[in-house]
């Protein structure tokens, strides 16, 4: 039974990896900690439930990472995906601290897969959680329980009372009942606002109704909005989000990783009007994940169709929902509900433009089109071997970039540039400080772990002083 009459040293808003790392660290430092999770127990963990790995610097091979991954390479990778929209000091601090993230998580009962050189394309840079993010979340909650951290499920933080950069108390809805929580320090680890359609609608209009939210439906951004409204410094482009090409038939929320489709490089992609709109063979995985969600979000009806033939079927991961399958392009178009004549022409034009080459599915090869607009610059093979397949696509939003500004001690910065007296942040709610755009696989969990630990440490120190 969690005591809501007492004054807690630290209240953590959120229940994912960043929240748990913060809560555990603060508790280990001696603070009394209350963690407030919006989701019910069975759906706890925010987007961490859907994650799989974390990107960690390592100067030598470890039991969970192969070869080496040093600061400069890590920084270059980050610089490339963000296009420079990052904070170098914070980013480098995070990169350096990432070296210790796997060991910290292990100390919390998280189990990693042994490193398997060569089998996973990410096993050099990323440490994989055995069983994935939900197993990690389970382990962290067990540790939190053992440490005596108060945990409230089914409880939404609705308002933080902030005066002159000092948070005094929170109004929460606990199983639907309003309650008040008093605390000495706040850690906001409450995620982005990607599951809040009304908010997305402000920037994207009706298109927002067609966005699939890949992760937790509890990412409503309520704490984020509340803090920004009370004079916390904002970072990140509020209109932007990370999105991938999802199966158009996926659940509108919480479909998770398995809904993503990676068939695009081996397909021809058309929009609802049966027009190609981007070079499907532009770049190699993983960058293509990051661009196709946004590309489809900008198409009419926020939908697209990837057309392949039987040659390509085994070049990409199997999809959860079977693709449309037909023996002619026209029949396929009928199944997808798009214009058959137009699709036949698009495929015929494409086939006429394909130049011979040596197909290599795992790296950019020399199979490309000539005289086609837009071109397909790699993996372009004739679509001529029935049965033909079509995967309908929609944008699947992973997270939003808007966040609260923090310093290198995870302390929240107010709009006037002054650090908050007792507010800290970790995870998606502050990731925009480092990730201004784009995404690096496993970096979200790295930010969550690194800043979670920092926030926990600093909040506990704050309380002691």
């Amino acid at each position: 039974m969690v005591d809501l009459t007492r004054v807690w040293d630290v209240m953590v808003a959120g229940g994912g990896n960043a929240a748990l790392c913060a809560a555990i660290t603060a508790r280990r430092a001696g603070a009394s900690v209350l963690l407030v999770e919006h989701a019910p127990r069975s759906m706890r963990g925010g987007n961490s439930r859907h994650t799989r790995n974390l990107r960690a610097l390592h100067p030598a091979p470890t039991d969970v990472l192969t070869e080496t991954y040093l600061e400069e390479e890590y920084w270059d990778d980050l610089l490339r995906v963000t296009g420079g929209k990052t904070n170098e000091d914070l980013a480098r601090m995070c990169i350096r601290a990432s070296q210790h993230a796997p060991d910290f998580l292990k100390s919390c009962g998280v189990v990693f897969q042994p490193s398997l050189s060569g089998t996973l394309s990410l096993s050099r840079t990323n440490a994989f959680f055995l069983g994935g993010g939900k197993a990690l979340v389970n382990a962290l909650y067990r540790t939190a329980e053992q440490l005596g951290i108060g945990i409230l499920y089914d409880t939404e933080v609705q308002h933080i009372e902030v005066q002159d950069g000092f948070a005094t108390e929170a109004i929460i809805s606990h199983h639907g009942f309003p309650e008040r929580v008093r605390f000495k320090a706040l850690i906001a680890s409450s995620g982005g606002f990607q599951a809040n359609r009304d908010w997305l609608r402000k920037y994207w209009g009706d298109a927002a109704d067609n966005f699939q939210i890949r992760g937790t439906p509890y990412a409503q951004g309520r704490v984020l909005r509340d803090l920004l409204d009370q004079g916390v410094h904002e970072v990140g482009d509020p209109t932007q989000f990370h999105a991938v090409a999802n199966d158009a038939r996926a659940p509108m929320e919480d479909g998770g990783l398995a809904m993503r489709l990676d068939c695009v490089p081996f397909a021809v992609v058309v929009n609802r009007d049966v027009e190609r709109f981007y070079d499907e063979g532009e770049d190699v995985w993983p960058k293509r994940y990051a661009i196709w969600g946004r590309l489809i979000a900008q198409q009419p009806g926020q939908v697209a169709f990837a057309v392949t033939d039987s040659k390509a079927l085994h070049n990409y991961l199997p999809s959860v929902f079977p693709p449309y399958k037909a023996n002619s392009i026209a029949e396929l178009a009928g199944m997808a509900g798009i214009d058959a004549g137009k699709l036949e022409k698009v495929i015929a034009d494409y086939n006429a433009a394909v130049r011979p080459g040596t197909f290599q599915p795992m790296k950019p090869d020399d199979c490309r089109t000539e005289g086609l607009t837009p071109p397909k610059s790699h993996w372009a093979r004739l679509i001529d071997t029935p049965p033909y397949y079509c995967h309908p696509l929609k944008p699947g939003i992973t997270f939003t970039f808007l966040g609260v500004k923090v310093n290198d001690r995870a302390r929240v910065i107010m709009a006037d540039g002054k650090p908050s007296a007792n507010m800290f942040a970790s995870g998606e709610v502050m990731a925009g400080n480092i990730l201004g755009q784009g995404y690096l696989a496993g970096f979200g969990m790295t930010i969550g772990t690194v800043f979670g630990r920092l926030a926990g440490e600093e909040a506990a120190r704050n309380v002691r002083n």
Binding site: R49, L130, G131, G132, G133, K134, N138
Partner: protein, 369 residues
């Protein structure tokens, strides 16, 4: 081949999600075996279901577990398919229906076995012998004549072995195991002896909840080796009898009694431990329809070993006669129920592990895709 039905359709739906997610790839043999396939015939599903050891790691780690709308719950789905395959490959076929209400069937077998042997003993044996202390060579056979013991036990056990063998052969052929070449027997034996697939890679599996432990693995192996030691006790007893001319009861320090005693202790501990785990475990990843048969078989094994140990304690007293009848009645029930109980999982699990070891070695599936 198993008929297409709601469960196979459900298993195929599960495979579609799991094969796109693959987060569980390091848990056990099921997931690498799944990754080798894109389409799942009922034979494939039967193979994967029998490869599954029911460790529940995949359920507790699953981002799509209920109450998620995908409701992925592989331990339950595979347990259902396993049960269907036990019924389908039962020999003779008609006996497959015994898997329907298996708890009742096994319990009835136990009750009838005990009753039958008690009644037979009372009818055949002079009460002055049955209720008085019997000592010295051939004491047991004065209570239950050796010819009866050998006929009943040998007959039922022999039948069980034949029935399970035929079931195994039909399973292998229909599920698509490929030509029975000698393949990686050693790997398979190691998998069975160590229960590697219940190890979760060293930290254990989810016996009770989302925490890791190795209780099920230890308890199962206590039961398994206990059973094997009891079997060895019987075999060595027969050897003593027929080849060394030594008649039971054997001294406590003799090989048959030592094997039987410690085997019985292990069997008691293992079955009691497994029953305890079944009671306290999170019920969601458990196929409730099937636990009756599992409780019944575990209880029967426990009673067989417990009465065996009690027999050792009272063998020089007047209680020996009734205890012997009780013990042998339970043994008879065990042998009769053997091919129509959870015990058949050993055959199909072993074959599934063997097939998987072959597929791994071959770098892919043995059967044509």
């Amino acid at each position: 081949m198993l008929q297409e039905n709601e469960t196979t359709a459900e298993a195929r739906r599960h495979m579609a999600v799991c094969n796109s997610c693959r987060y569980c790839e390091s848990y056990c043999a099921v997931f690498p075996a799944m990754t080798m396939r894109r389409e799942f015939s009922t034979g494939d599903l039967t193979h994967l279901a029998n490869l599954c050891h029911g460790c529940k790691g995949c359920y507790h780690a699953c981002q799509y577990a209920p109450p998620h709308e995908f409701g992925i719950n592989l331990p339950v789905t595979f347990a259902e398919i396993r049960a269907q395959s036990y019924a389908h490959y039962a020999w003779p076929r008609a006996m497959g229906t015994l898997f329907e209400r298996n708890g009742t069937v096994v319990t009835l077998a136990a009750a009838l076995g005990v009753t039958l042997v008690l009644l037979l003993t009372m009818a055949l044996v002079d009460p002055s012998i049955l209720y008085t202390a019997q000592r010295g060579e051939g004491a047991f056979f004065r209570v239950i004549p050796m010819w009866l013991m050998v006929t009943l036990a040998g007959g039922t056990f022999g039948y069980a072995i034949i029935a399970m063998l035929i079931g195994g052969i039909r399973y292998w052929r229909e599920v698509g195991g490929g030509a029975p070449a000698p393949g990686p027997i050693l790997d398979t034996a190691v998998d069975i002896i160590t229960l590697r697939n219940l190890g979760g890679g060293g930290h254990g599996c989810n016996d009770v909840d989302d925490g890791f432990s190795s209780q099920k693995r230890w308890m199962h192996q206590a039961m398994f080796f206990g059973f094997m030691m009891c079997f060895a006790a019987t075999t060595s007893g027969a050897f003593y009898h027929h080849f060394l001319g030594l008649r039971s009861p054997h001294p406590f320090w003799s090989l048959p009694v030592q094997l039987g005693t410690w085997g019985g202790v292990l069997l008691c501990l293992g079955t009691a431990g497994l029953i305890r785990l079944k009671i306290i475990t999170d019920p969601v990843p458990v196929a409730k329809r099937l636990v009756g048969g599992e409780y019944a078989m575990l209880s029967l094994l426990f009673l067989v070993s417990a009465t065996g140990l009690l027999l050792l304690v009272v063998r020089h007293t007047g209680a020996m006669g009734v205890m012997l009848a009780l013990h042998l009645g339970l043994v008879l029930a065990l042998f009769v129920a053997l091919p129509y109980s959870k015990m058949v999982h050993g055959v199909y699990r072993g074959l599934a592990l063997w097939r998987h070891a072959r597929e791994k070695r071959g770098g892919g599936m043995v059967a044509a895709e």
